[in-house]
């Protein structure tokens, strides 16, 4: 194959298949790049799923170790983020089951989970206060929503995932995802309204 043809073929290769090939080789440079690329999204998802930043950071590291170990299982035909979230989700479920204190199928206890901390990049003092208050209000509202609804709402509206992708990550049917989205949004709205009153 000549150079132009090779370049054309490589150019045509999708991002997902490049990632799949790199993961099969356990390419450390690729993993470094992926960790940086997905750092905020993955951590945000894990914080909402696990309910605390400290636990989410542990699970964040474990997720990437799992990606390294099981990278050969990623087929490159689906979105990498969907596969990544599914791994993070399974790890979180395993952890919560082992602990036996909380379940992804039920609401989390407010007292056990600190409110989410907003990112530290505020330009003005009043904005810091406002952002912090807003973040606390949202996190306090989210944490009271049963995990399966919270997860669906976060994946849809924070991570911008398509309904089919959410179904793939959570292993739920499309109809279930839609219903969770509706109920989750209703719960979030009523909690936020309650917090304002």
């Amino acid at each position: 194959m000549n150079a132009a043809a090779h370049f054309f073929t490589m150019g045509m290769e999708s991002e997902a298949s490049v990632i799949a090939r790199g993961l099969r080789r356990r390419d450390p440079d690729l993993l470094d790049r992926l960790i940086e690329q997905y750092q905020h999204r993955l951590l945000r998802y894990l914080i909402h799923l696990a309910g605390s930043r400290e636990l989410a950071e542990d699970l964040f590291q474990e997720t990437w170790i799992r990606v390294l170990e099981r990278g050969h299982q990623y087929d490159g035909k689906h979105e990498f983020s969907t596969w990544l979230y599914a791994i993070a989700r399974n790890l979180t479920i395993d952890y919560l089951r082992k602990k036996g204190t909380v379940s992804l199928d039920g609401p989390m206890d407010d007292d056990e989970h600190a409110p989410l901390e907003p990112a530290d990049k505020a330009p003005a003092a009043w904005e810091v206060v406002a952002q912090h208050e807003q973040a606390e209000r949202i996190s306090a509202a989210l944490i009271t929503i049963p995990a399966e609804y919270r997860e669906t709402v976060v994946l849809r509206f924070q991570e911008g995932m398509a309904l089919e992708e959410i179904a793939s990550v959570t292993g739920a049917r499309l109809g279930t995802v839609k219903s969770r989205l509706y109920r989750g949004l209703n719960m979030l709205m009523s909690r936020l309204k309650g917090a304002q009153a």
Partner: protein, 157 residues
Amino acid sequence: MMRDIHDEMRELIALGDSLSGAQQEQLRAHLQDCADCRSYAETAVKALQALRSVNIAAGTRLVHATQTRVRFHAARLREARERMWLVGLACLAVGLSATLTAPLLWRLFAWIGESMGLSALVWQTGFAVFFIAPALVVSLLLIARGAHLSDQTRNWK
């Protein structure tokens, strides 16, 4: 049971931008006529804006720690794989050598048995033990090594 049209429209609102053209048109028409659902939609938009405004970021410390840990673990996995290759090659070499030397050893044990006046059962048992013993020892060593490695993996943090 007939579904309430308002519930149906609110479900559409919750789906966000995943609506088909017809659904969007249906929702738009309903919102023009229904003040309650319009108010619901406005509240939903505000709630989602608030949700999106929560800015959670991973710190550089976490990212670097993760990258370091992943690289370290990748190196360990690579070493383990290389070791398994060596073990595999060694097994192949031992298998070949055993196949080639078995007839010679058989004759040697038969000659020793005859020279010492041993019964066939005794020298044949001796041959079997001599032939199997190295493989047994290596297997035991590998099992012990494997158990040791799996303990390390479990405790690795």
